[in-house]
Symmetry: C2
Subunit: 156 residues, 2 copies
Amino acid sequence: MMQNELVLNDVDKAILRLMQDDARITNVAISKKLKMAPSAVLERVRKLEERGVIKGYTANINPSALNKELLAFIFIKSADGFGCDTSARAFAAIPEVQEVHNIAGDDCYLVKVRVANTQALMELRRKKFSKIANILSMRTTIVMETVKETQTISIT
Amino acid sequence: MMQNELVLNDVDKAILRLMQDDARITNVAISKKLKMAPSAVLERVRKLEERGVIKGYTANINPSALNKELLAFIFIKSADGFGCDTSARAFAAIPEVQEVHNIAGDDCYLVKVRVANTQALMELRRKKFSKIANILSMRTTIVMETVKETQTISIT
DNA sequence: GTGTAATAAGAATATTATTCTGCTATGTAT
DNA sequence: ATACATAGCAGAATAATATTCTTATTACAC
């Protein structure tokens, strides 16, 4: 039998902690920290990838280096029916859109976007969002300062 | 002279694109795609790291594998004075908090949290947030479905 | 021209990744 | 209890990669 599809043991968690902290850590480094053989670590990492526990690896780039210093959240009311995420997919297809969430309470979406400046934000709204059907209203909130921004999940 | 502190050329951008897409890509693989020597790529990657263009590398972990399936945004009004981010730092120190933004318009914070379920969210509010001084009010918005969630920046 | 700095290639070496084999523990069916 | 299958890990051998160092080239300032 196998029922370990969803179960992570302590070794898995330790690996995830290390790779979440530094995705470019070597297998050898992991194996030393965990006092295991590199081959055993490799096997576990592969299984974590195969099982979809690890979805991928990303480099975190400084937004200002790419002249993308303006972060904003846009609340969008849409005429999409229940279970229909047509406009959500359209939002997601825009490169400047980092996140699209269907939020409770107001039958609307919360969209996180990152652009160069307020002018670019205006252009994004006019040229990209305005083309998307079903949008009833948009409310934009601009971020003045970001104190913390990670995707890190606390592994206990 | 050197004024390249902030300037990225096409090679840099190509490297960033590749590493943003897959942070565990090898130097050799990058060098083949870019038709360069591995040593040259390595030198550029190191400089990107040193200059802070690349802030780090992260493994993207499936939240449901870690039983963190509830995402929520909390809008917090605080009595912090201007330029004072005492409570923001307190928010950032909480492991379940993934993002803390100082947003315009309502002298308040937008905090993104990831927890197991609604019960855990309640506990987080009671045990962690309620201890933080200066909080005037909190409004929580629960995410029902996430259509897109990345930190990826479009590199043009 | 001359010097300097940045950039990249190439070769040599160190380190790591990967594969494969075998061992052990665990659980299951007979 | 015995036999069998499976998961997990270690160890060794080999393939691949990372890293260092040297050299060449270019661009640019003086």
